[in-house]
């Protein structure tokens, strides 16, 4: 039974609990061009995210999805519009919106433990040294890196590096986690394992997550809603797809449901359609 695709669109406002934790209001991002004009990358984006909600942003490369994430993270400024987190406007980077970077961004002169400790020292500076040490140890254990704790990043595989990135992000107890294609640089097997690990952690301790991805399966597996962006320039939110599966999710079970394939096809069709329009 294939539902009409129109049913999937924009049903999000009715689902789930309050979605006013993160509010993205009329955000537009434009870059000046050399000949005096401007390129509008993001055009009037409006989006609300709930306190315990895992959302994915999906779109073709160049659609500005990473830019949107960086604006929420404060690393880039919106040309107009505003971002509100828990009722307060955000204009700068802040540790309550911690990033997980696509290329890990670990400091190569510090060990795994020291990388995480640096973040803890910086953000949780009210803790005693003993408590800080415990926070670091907990998070190293959480991503199963006990054996590699004293290693330097260039001694680690890509998957291990990203686990350090995730541990570093979670250790400082952010209100919201921003992930910029966190599994994009990993091989397929490692990616699957790490997705499971991140989902486990999130299912145990839910919080707001905003993840940029270009992988429909990853978005369906992990997130509660999928924000599908149209192609840039002038990228907008094309459609918002609710993912109705209960957590904890098991990939095998998801794949046995026809709804999974309906959603998957719908998302792929959306992407295809916007791809062909562009050419």
């Amino acid at each position: 039974m294939i539902k009409p695709t129109a049913n999937f669109a924009n049903t999000s406002q009715t689902a789930n609990s309050p979605k006013e934790f993160l509010v993205i209001e009329n955000v537009t991002k434009a870059y000046p061009t050399p000949n005096g004009g401007e390129t509008v990358v993001l055009d009037d984006i409006n989006l609300n995210i709930g306190e315990n909600e895992y959302i994915s942003i999906i779109g073709h490369s160049g659609c500005g999805k990473s830019t949107l994430l960086k604006i929420v993270g404060g690393l880039e400024k919106a040309t107009s519009g505003s971002i509100w987190l828990g009722g307060r406007e955000v204009r700068k980077p802040g540790a309550e919106r911690m990033m997980v970077f696509q290329h890990y961004s670990l400091l190569p002169w510090l060990t795994v433990r020291e990388n995480i400790r640096l973040a803890v020292d910086e953000v949780l500076d009210h803790l005693s040294p003993a408590d800080k040490k415990q926070v670091v140890n907990e998070h190293i254990a959480m991503v199963n890196l006990n054996a590699a704790a004293e290693k330097y990043p260039d001694e680690l595989s890509g998957g291990m590096k990203q686990r350090v990135g995730i541990a570093r992000a979670l250790a400082i107890r952010p209100k919201m986690l921003l992930m910029d294609e966190p599994f994009g640089a990993l091989d397929a097997l490692t990616r699957g394992r790490l997705q499971r690990q991140v989902l486990d952690i999130w299912e145990n301790q839910r919080q707001a997550v905003m993840m940029v991805t270009h992988d429909v399966d990853e978005a369906l597996y992990m997130s509660d809603r999928i924000i599908m962006m149209t192609n840039g320039p002038h990228a907008k939110i094309g459609e918002i797809l609710d993912v109705p599966f209960e957590h904890p999710r098991v990939l095998k079970e998801l794949r046995s449901q026809s709804t999974y394939y309906d959603l998957r096809n719908h998302a792929l069709n959306f992407l295809d359609q916007h791809f062909s329009q562009d050419d």
Binding site: L75, P93, R97, S105, L107, W109, L118, E122, I172
Partner: protein, 283 residues
């Protein structure tokens, strides 16, 4: 049981052949071939010295003539008559004082240039003009300022040490990956702590490259400076030996200076490895 024993023998034998085939290559690469190079150089010297015996001593004659210096590097036989170890120590002291003072000025200046566009625009032309000036040209200015040989020599070394360290530090600071800075910004690290905890460690490999180049040039320059200023030092020893037509000692000094330069570079490389936790690049 017997089979196991046999397998073991085969394993041991295989290991032995593996080692045998590996080790000669290692010995050849790290011992024999370098020795061949030195042997060739000494042979060349020997041939030239044999053909033109009035021009220079053979290696053997030089060795014999220098035996006293080699066996008693730290003798003191009155003022100005010191063993070559003391001369070397005097030169090293000048170089190290000048070099450390230079680094203390050059690293902060390099940071300033690397972090501020205005500082870069203001200082870059000055550096570009002063950098190609031979450090020896500063010697008369230094003598005019200090009126003494020793501080003047140190001043020249100080000037020599500045440029490579400034330029490499500035390059390192300005090329710190934006990713690292983004991490610091997300963690809300104040600017001064970003400098200490992110920019400084990230640019340390560049800073050390600059320091190694500076120290190398400083060691080149001190010999020339001491030839001009006189006093106690390995450079003046070279010039003094030449004036006494004692070419044997000049050859000795050349070897001592070369080995010392190599050791200095090695030491800085080791310090770099220790500070940055990463193997230093070979220069």
């Amino acid at each position: 049981m017997l089979l196991q024993f046999n397998v073991q023998i085969i394993l041991v034998a295989a290991q032995a052949t593996w080692r045998r085939s590996l080790r000669p290559a290692l010995v050849r690469d790290s011992v024999l071939l370098p020795l061949l190079g030195f042997a060739g150089l000494i042979l060349l010297w020997w041939i030239v010295a044999t053909l033109r015996s009035e021009m220079m001593p053979t290696p053997w004659q030089a060795l014999v003539a220098n035996l006293d210096y080699i066996l008693h590097p730290f003798y003191r036989r009155g003022p100005g008559n010191l063993g070559i170890g003391w001369l070397l120590a005097a030169s090293l002291r000048r170089v190290l004082i000048g070099f450390v003072l230079g680094a203390l000025v050059a690293i902060p200046v390099g940071f300033l240039i690397g972090m501020s566009k205005q500082a870069m625009l203001a200082l870059n032309p000055v550096i570009q003009i002063l950098k190609p000036v031979s450090p020896l040209a500063w010697l008369p200015i230094a003598l005019a300022i200090f009126n003494l040989a020793n501080p003047s020599a140190i001043f020249v070394i100080f000037i020599t040490s500045l440029w490579p360290t400034i330029i490499n530090t500035a390059l390192g600071v300005s090329s710190v990956s934006k990713d690292y800075i983004d991490v610091a910004r997300v963690l809300e690290m104040p600017r001064w702590r970003q400098v200490l905890k992110i920019i400084l460690p990230a640019s340390l490999p560049y800073i050390f490259t600059g320091l190694r180049i500076s120290l190398g040039i400083a060691w080149l320059v001190i010999v020339a400076v001491e030839m001009l200023t006189g006093g106690v030092g390995i450079g003046f020893f070279v010039w003094d030996s030449w004036n006494r037509l004692n070419l044997s000692s000049v050859f000795l000094a050349v070897i001592v200076i070369g080995v010392t330069g190599l050791v200095l570079d090695y030491i800085v490389g080791k310090i770099q490895e220790w500070v940055t936790h990463r193997p230093a690049s070979q220069t």
